[in-house]
């Protein structure tokens, strides 16, 4: 079992990073990670699928996050975007998009697109692994990514015509 705890422990920094990007609030994010770890520890052995622990942890975290949002919606506790502290934004460097704009654009993405985009672009997961975590077909994941990226492009003011269309 200590082997299991070691593997979980190794995933914590990545989980915190992902949770922070999802919630954009350090305390909320760490609460989310703590809930996720507690649930994982209480279910080890019993419910753990055979796949990698990391993917399983992302799945748990996303479930808790969605349930929390659902509960918050029910109770009407919405967090004002402006009241959420921005992550420290370094001065924009050449070649980078304006980061503050980027943050705002990500925040306004639909949750399912944001979940997918961050799994791939931030966590560097393979498409198939991200699709498994989100429990959607690979094609669905790809279209969520494409829509997310298109929104970011519009929102960040870098319009570009798609030159190539998907050939079906």
């Amino acid at each position: 079992m200590s082997d299991f705890l070691d593997q979980v422990e190794a995933c914590v920094p990545a989980l915190r990073r992902y949770a922070r990007a999802l919630t954009r609030n350090a305390d909320l994010a760490d609460d989310l990670v703590q809930d996720c770890l507690e649930r994982a520890i209480s279910r080890r052995g019993l419910f753990r699928p055979n796949g990698p622990i990391r993917a399983w942890l992302y799945t748990i975290l996303l479930n808790i996050h969605r349930n929390g949002l659902r509960a918050a919606r029910r109770h009407g506790e919405t967090v004002d975007l402006d009241s959420v502290p921005e992550p420290s934004t370094p001065a924009s460097q050449p070649g980078h998009l304006a980061l503050a704009e980027m943050v705002r654009a990500i925040d306004t993405l639909p949750l399912e697109q944001k979940e997918a985009l961050l799994l791939v672009a931030l966590e560097g997961l393979a498409y198939q692994e991200a699709a498994d975590i989100l429990a959607v077909p690979l094609g669905t994941l790809m279209s969520r990514l494409a829509r997310a990226r298109a929104s970011l492009r519009v929102a960040t003011g870098t319009p570009a015509e798609p030159h190539l269309r998907t050939v079906k």
Binding site: V12, R17, A21, H96, L97, A121, Y127, P162
Partner: protein, 266 residues
Amino acid sequence: MSQITQDMLMAYADGQLDGPERDAVAAHLTANPDAAIEISLFQRQNDAIQTLFAPVGAEPVPARLRARRLAAERGQRLQRRFGWAVAAVMLVGVGLGAGWLIRPMVDARPVSQTLIADAVNAHTVYVAENRHAVEVGSDDSEHLTTWLSNRLDTNLGMPDLSGEGFSLVGGRLLPGEPEAGGRAAQLMYENTDKDRITIYVTAALPDRTAAYEFATYDGAEAFYWANARITCTVVGTLPEGAMKQVSQAVYRQLTEGDVEAGRYRG
């Protein structure tokens, strides 16, 4: 290379392609500067996301997010919960045990109440019967008297209630309370309106003291008394006045000749 799709460009930018596919896209890019712009845009989005959020992954992990500590805390919590569960089970056990021990003190219902309940119950069951209302009919009243007297180990005469308009239907033997000899006799009477009353007789209680009680139980009127020889409960659904009249007639006849009866004669 017409089958280079938007999805493939995105996958290329995300570093998700390998081998021939990646080479194919790379070759495509040299010929299509627009696609190259597209890809650099994707990559800049990725870079921005990395710049924004990747540093969190390098922050020191707060103590509360240490998996080992969480597991240890959970173990303690479970242990505590188990402790509470054990305590709860033991408390319930102690309560049950104590309750059982003081049961005789709490179970204050006097025997007379039990006998009245039995009498009313037997009344309700058998007055509803037509062909099997009694075990031995009134046409064999001599046998009935001997039989029931023997079984109750006492001298039981059949009261004559003709003065009150009731005639004997018959009687039967019933199981009874252990305190009252374990057996009971039920005598049934009926008037011309088909109203029925029953008389429930048992051997005397161990204390043999006299008692006297009028009770309404389960919709029926019951008149109970006990003496040194028998206990008797008269049960019926007549109006209270009529019930009293019948009961007094029964009482008079069944206590007749009893030495101690006189004191309680009503």
